[in-house]
Amino acid sequence: MTIFELSKSGRTACPLQKRDVEEYKLDPKFLREADAMLPEVDELTLVRHYTALSKKAFGVDDGFYPLGSCTMKYNPKINEAAAALSGFTNIHPLQDQTQGALRLMWELSRDLCAITGMDMFTLQPAAGAHGEFTALLMIKAYHNSRNDHKRNKVIAPDSAHGTNPASAAMAGFEIINIPSSSDGLADLEALEKAVGEDTAAFMLTNPNTLGIFDKNIKKIADIVHKAGGLLYYDGANLNPIMGIIRPGDMGFDVVHLNLHKTFSAPHGGGGPGSGPVGCKKLLAEFLPWPTVEEDNGVYRFSKPHKSIGSVKAFYGNFLVLVKAFAYIKTLGKDGIRNSAKMSALNANYLMARLKEYFPCHSQDICMHEFVISCEELKQRTGVSALDLAKAMQDKGMHPPTMYFPLIVKEALMFEPTETESKETLDNAADIIIELCHEALNNPQSFHEKPLTTPIGRPDEVKAARFPILKG
């Protein structure tokens, strides 16, 4: 039942005081014909409705959430407390006397530079894809500023996140997809062939979407740079190397981070995120404005010399910045580095426990995540990656990412993150192994699963064919 179906004419939860001035009536020619159809409910009905809905959602606080490439780590409560401070929530973006907010943004930028090995950061982009778009515009502006107008192609591996090619297209580039080698790494030969005087950039995430660290990274950087292109780091997978190995030292020129993944800001059911972009000096003058600068302990906004413009009305998702700031300040250098290590340890442990049951595509040692294939299981039993994932829901865990990366058939991608205990990982491994046995013995049972969730499997074809998009 929706909130509209709970409505009754005349009810309201509106807490407003009475108007204390004379009513002003606008010229009727500007007014809408009928009132907007909005719910009419009392406050308790409202509370019960949305409390019930919240119970039909699953967050990190509810259970294990090994969603690959999404870094569903615990979101510390101190982050929320910090972001709820009146000195942050009740300041207008265009007001004066905001030195505390500016200083926070400045320090966060410096800390992100230290972690990534970059020279400058913008905190304006609202999400990872937004950061990609921003960085690609900077790359475009860089080449154009050198009168190098023929660089209109962006190269990305076929294992890349879908946002990579989509952002490149939005930034006005053509996309060249290159295949990965059989072990899931960037194919150096294919890259050599693809680069040329039309190459604007190569987009890469390292570790890649199979959770493998590409040890050829310096060679890759050389190939791209020799061709006159720039190397772009998709920061979605930074977690297992944060503070240990830096994109800047690997040869990357520009990076976007996901503060809602790596730096523990909550995902909010799909946002708001934050996707800061950091760059080496050669790109700094193209950063979007405003950026924050410091002068003798005084902080202010400024506009880089050849800025690409703004990508958001104000300065970014400020409260998300506060959460990431709290995380970094609480943990500090050792805490950040150790968290990275424990994320790799957890992924390798879970992988080791599942290895004998599924072919694994992430080499002997993975980083933050690993990918298994259910292809064999499906051939033998008819139970697919999807079936297995749905069955996990009945066991109280969130399924891993399904069918990604596209280069592995029947893929399940696990990213446990560092905040999970050995007991949680053992429990998850036991569940998956048990399901594996069940698939061999009783494959038919899977097609009905999940059985204990608020709904069974939804008819997605019907949803797309006969779209009902509002109530």
Binding site: I3, F58, M170, S310, A313, L469
Partner: protein
């Protein structure tokens, strides 16, 4: 030392032995030469130390007791019930609802959000939200792009910060922006619009109310745009839509806007919420997530992410946009806000904004040397020209803990009034202005 991982030494030992290596550092074997020796990051403060430090930073920001500044970010009353329900961890700590069976709560709230936005705008469909009002306008314009046309007409009444963002987005697609100025009443000039609207124009963009608070004759603009066969996009303040003609009634194809007034605090500019709603024929061009209603295997009502063939994870470079996330938690706040205020309450907020803004404008213009810059009907913002300088007014206000409006020029200020400004606050502001004279 502060940490959020639970590993004990014996855990680590046992885990390493299952993996078959002897140390955690072995996980990084072969990467030694890439490792950063030291990084310029301070040691951790721990939770207690961090809380103290951040609290100190927050106090270095001035929280005004009385706010008359709007210009794209509005100080409205946020019911406690909105903050409370939005804080529920299931909503906050969940990912994008990829697994519908355990995400019905999030999917249904987005569906309700889409319904409310559609009803507010008179539109057929809405997405699950985008980053903010500025990017909503930019993405909305890109949705309307047509082959063989490369110009948009952009009203100068649109927030200049939105223009900055739109320029950034459209430049990448080689779309030209031409501007339509305002007439003496502060409305977008119909004459200039007619003159500039040519065969090469694929869209006309208008703000309602505009940046200077003036209510546009949006229906008249719509008629002209339709006559010439172009597309029409509006950027609206959602509170105003409780009273004003809907974008649909004005003939718009796409309605966008900044959702922050719907229950989100000012927060130094974000996170906010961009909404995009459109007529049915733009369904396949809509950007971002959309939730649809369907049934489950047993015929039970169910909600899912749908029409995903438009999106980046399927279409890659051919997607309608690269947007992946939305501002789901902000959309939740907007849903809670609209549900709490309800049909009557939303109208009441809008009407109080209008009445109070007119009260203040009347009091201000009664002062010697203060006049309204524009003659047009206004919503809750208005531009005042004064003999005394803007700087002097703003400084005088600051001294009395009042955040004055936005300085537009040496003697021009854009003032904003909402339902949060009491008659006492406004009378106090008038006294401050009198003293400043």
């Amino acid at each position: 030392m502060a940490k959020y991982y639970p590993h004990t030494e014996s855990d680590i030992k046992q885990m390493l032995s299952v993996i078959g290596i002897d140390s955690v550092d072995s996980l990084y074997a072969g990467l030694e030469e890439l490792k950063a020796e030291d990084i310029d990051l301070a040691e951790g403060m721990g939770q207690q130390g961090c809380e103290r430090y951040i609290d100190k930073l927050s106090k270095q920001n001035k929280v005004y007791s009385s706010i008359f500044l709007g210009a794209g970010a509005y100080n409205h009353y946020i019911p406690a019930v909105v903050r409370n329900l939005a804080g529920r961890e299931e909503f906050l700590t969940a990912y994008t609802p990829y697994q519908p069976e355990i995400s019905q709560g999030i999917l249904q709230t987005i569906f309700e959000y889409q319904t409310m936005i559609c009803n507010l705008c008179g539109m057929d469909l809405s997405n699950a939200s985008v980053y903010d009002g500025a990017t909503a306008l930019a993405e909305g314009l890109l949705m309307l792009a047509e082959k063989g046309k490369n110009k948009v007409l952009f009203s100068e009444g649109i927030n200049p910060k939105y223009l900055e963002v739109v320029k950034t987005y459209l430049r990448a697609q080689n779309v030209e922006i031409e501007y339509v100025g305002l007439d003496g009443s502060g409305k977008t000039s119909i004459e200039e619009l007619k003159r500039k609207l040519d065969q090469n124009t694929f869209a006309v963009a208008l703000a309602q109310p505009n940046f200077y608070g003036v209510i546009e004759d949006a229906q008249a603009v719509g008629e002209i745009v339709k006559q010439r066969g172009a597309n029409y996009i509006m950027s609206c303040n959602p509170i105003s839509l409780a009273l004003l003609k809907t974008p649909d009634e004005c003939g718009a194809d796409v309605a966008t806007g900044e959702g922050q007034p719907l229950g989100m605090p000012l927060s130094f500019g974000g996170p906010y919420l961009g909404f995009i709603a459109a007529k049915q024929k733009y369904m396949r061009k809509m950007v971002g997530r959309i939730v649809g209603k369907t049934t489950d295997s047993k015929g039970k009502e169910a909600y899912v992410l749908t029409l995903q063939a438009r999106e980046q994870h399927i279409r890659r470079e051919k997607a309608s946009s690269s947007i992946c996330s939305n501002q789901a938690h902000c959309a939740l706040m907007a849903t809670l806000y609209m549900a709490a205020m309800g049909k009557k309450g939303m109208k009441e907020v809008a009407s109080q904004c209008v009445s109070k803004a007119h009260y203040l404008a009347k009091k201000m213009t009664a002062l010697e040397g203060f006049e309204l810059k524009y003659g047009g009907e206004f919503f809750n913002e208005f531009v005042i020209r004064s003999k005394i300088s803007s700087d002097k007014i703003i400084a005088a206000c600051r001294e009395k803990d009042i955040l004055a409006g936005l300085k537009l020029g040496e003697n021009e200020i854009l003032w904003c009034v909402t339902e949060t400004n009491s008659v006492e606050d406004m009378d106090k502001l008038i006294e401050v202005l009198k003293e400043a004279m």
